[in-house]
Symmetry: C2
Subunit: 412 residues, 2 copies
């Protein structure tokens, strides 16, 4: 894409009310726009990142047999009365002109459970794995962490349905692996730790995936040896010892929860009286699990982990484009070579963001490139052309190097 065509622009200043690095950088670089607290628009660059994250998640969840659906955001009161969660205080409520009560979904157990119940009658129909990537709403107070905590936010929510606990446990472990794979592919694998958390009334533990970042809202206790983390609540129960190696040498770290997995067991199947016929002819309650990842939050976490004082440093896998091609000066030679490289790179299947802007100085272009943060920068200037070269530099490295124009194709 040509940068001159993009309707957004980088901003010199971040909005004053944004304190978190993710919001400041993503807004300044033109990835998102704040409509009101906790409610953001995704601009063209931001949407490209979001779609890449979405595709990584989709691939990994499809790999563990997830079947994708799209459930409504608007939920009738009836469903939430059945589970006695209509009073949940973070849930937005509204009324239609005809007087019907609705809520806006912040999770979908109340919708997916009766939906799957329509189709599952026998052990032969099990297990079932259903997921969606869909907009959620949560009436949060005092949101101030950019994409890390949204009032409206995109989420991948997966629900699993099983005939027994063994099957649920096996799938739960599969999801754990898929989640590690997702966070690894999104470039935050090293910073993300499985964290023991409370399982509520249904299960002893649930698991969170916590990514270390100074702006995280959570505190976790990390065992540097086992790489296992524990949240505050559980840590107290365990007398501040690692659950695995019993060590007390734990590090207290700030972190942000990028995913969670939860054994719901029969909580929702009981509420909806969702039973199936076992091989022996007896009726049994379905067991369930639920598994969430916030897409915007994940995008925010990636920026929290990967940035420096000059801007974002996108991991390859989620970067809106792979190469930022800068036509540094306005000379016919520089522009001609730049245009040719732009076409050649595109033909080679490379996603190129081409800074062809005519009203920007070389310094402005270089500053913008650092702010936007594509993993690779390719500069064409009089200086590089004098040596028959372009300069390429990785965003996470200090120095670039000159390569001859004829070798650019090999680079791809």
């Amino acid at each position: 894409m040509k940068q001159s065509q993009l309707f957004t622009k980088t901003l010199k200043e971040a909005p004053r009310d944004e304190k978190s690095p993710n919001a400041k950088l993503l807004i300044r670089a033109g990835f998102i726009d704040k409509l009101t607290a906790g409610v953001y628009s995704y601009l063209p660059l931001g949407l490209r990142v979001l779609k890449k994250i979405e595709n990584i998640i989709r691939e990994e969840i499809n790999r563990i047999s997830g079947q994708e659906v799209l459930l409504p955001a608007l939920h009738p009161k009836k469903n939430w009365k059945i589970t006695d969660r209509w009073q949940y205080k973070e849930m937005f409520k509204l009324k239609s002109r005809e007087g019907k009560d609705f809520s806006l979904g912040w999770t979908h157990e109340e919708i997916v459970t009766p939906l799957v119940q329509n189709f599952v009658k026998s052990y032969k129909d099990l297990p079932v794995f259903v997921y969606q990537i869909q907009d959620k709403f949560r009436d949060e107070l005092r949101v101030k962490s950019g994409l890390l905590r949204g009032v409206e936010f995109l989420m991948k929510d997966l629900y699993s349905f099983h005939r027994d606990e063994k099957d649920l446990n096996e799938y739960y472990e599969k999801v754990k692996k898929a989640y590690f794979q997702i966070f690894k592919r999104c470039g935050i694998g090293k910073q993300t730790f499985l964290t023991l958390a409370s399982g509520g009334t249904f299960s002893k533990y649930s698991h969170e995936f916590q990514t270390l970042t100074p702006y995280g809202e959570d505190r976790i206790y990390l065992c540097p040896k086992c790489k296992l983390a524990t949240n505050k609540e559980i840590m107290k129960e365990q007398n501040y010892r690692c659950q695995k190696c019993k060590s007390q040498k734990l590090e207290i770290k700030k972190a942000i929860e990028v995913g969670n997995i939860f054994k719901l067991k029969s909580k929702f199947s009981e509420a909806f009286n969702f039973k199936f016929k076992e091989r022996d002819g007896k009726e049994r309650l379905i067991l369930m699990g639920c598994y969430g990842i916030g897409l915007g939050r994940l995008m925010g976490a990636i920026v929290e982990v990967h940035h420096d004082k000059n801007g974002i440093i996108w991991p390859d896998s989620v970067s809106p484009f792979q190469i930022h091609l800068l036509s540094l000066e306005r000379s016919s030679r520089v522009e001609k070579i730049s245009r040719k490289l732009y076409k050649d790179l595109q033909k080679g299947g490379v996603e190129v963001f081409y800074d062809d802007r005519e009203d920007k100085s070389p310094a402005e272009k270089l500053i913008d490139a650092d702010l936007i943060g594509l993993p690779m920068r390719m500069v064409v200037s009089e200086r590089t052309l004098a040596r028959g070269c372009v300069e390429i530099k990785k965003r996470n490295q200090k120095r670039g190097k000159l390569i001859s124009i004829s070798k650019v194709k090999k680079l791809i």
Copy 2:
């Protein structure tokens, strides 16, 4: 995909409260599920259709330089007070715990106008074309047409920003062509007519795209010669004559509006005081256009147009799979050949839906295949194998034909 793996099943009966062919067929065939009036879930087969429609729309709108964004569904009251549309009666309203007033977006002029205003200052920044594919909400009364009228529905909404009327008019004509291309690619080109409608206060006319169907909620006056339609309101003004050829031989038809395009001119730029600096240094108001297509409605319209008494007849371009492969009987030979064909077709890049269900009779499989409505059916049975063949039949043709198994590859 193997049909035995799909968690949904076909239903013998449509829900009693659904009257429209699209809802009855889509629910029975397992494409959608009704949560409450006007609010539907997309099940795996339905989501596949929706994604294909989405991709066709995205390709055509990208072709006319649309830049994709994703705007929030939750809108602050403030934006709607500026344009004096806060009282719009079909708009859902809600309050946060902190007492903030929100509405749920049924259109996005109030959001996209100030967003683009952030970035556009000069004639050099124009024109701008921004679109999204996003969830909308409309508090409709007595909805009863399945996907043709939703309370919650996915929409593609495109907004254009121009420096003068000439530029707006030119783009408006481009969108018209892109829309025809979209409806043609979705298989309803022949049934869809450009229809003159009221332009409200901003413009003499706007244009609707109306698809002829007996369940349509609108009435249009169609000139069989010019292929131009006019809605009731405008027809009256024109004394029931074709605007183009002045003929009075018009056909009155039932139709459903699948898209509309509208010149907003300066209505919204005035409200937001959105001006740009012209070449002569003077400030002028931006001119705008808006262009919508409802994705679910389009899916419903396709089914209204393409079905028979046995089920849906999907056009190739939007069908969830291209071939329905039926392993008709449970014999090791039939199953072995079916499995091999399934693999070969997939390797050849064909999207195959493979009916490998063990608990269904041949008759049940054939009935389900007609109901689900993939464009091509391939049957493997003892009878076909006795002749070294499979039977292939197009869904829209009465008779199938036998082709030898060795020729299946060539077919691809």
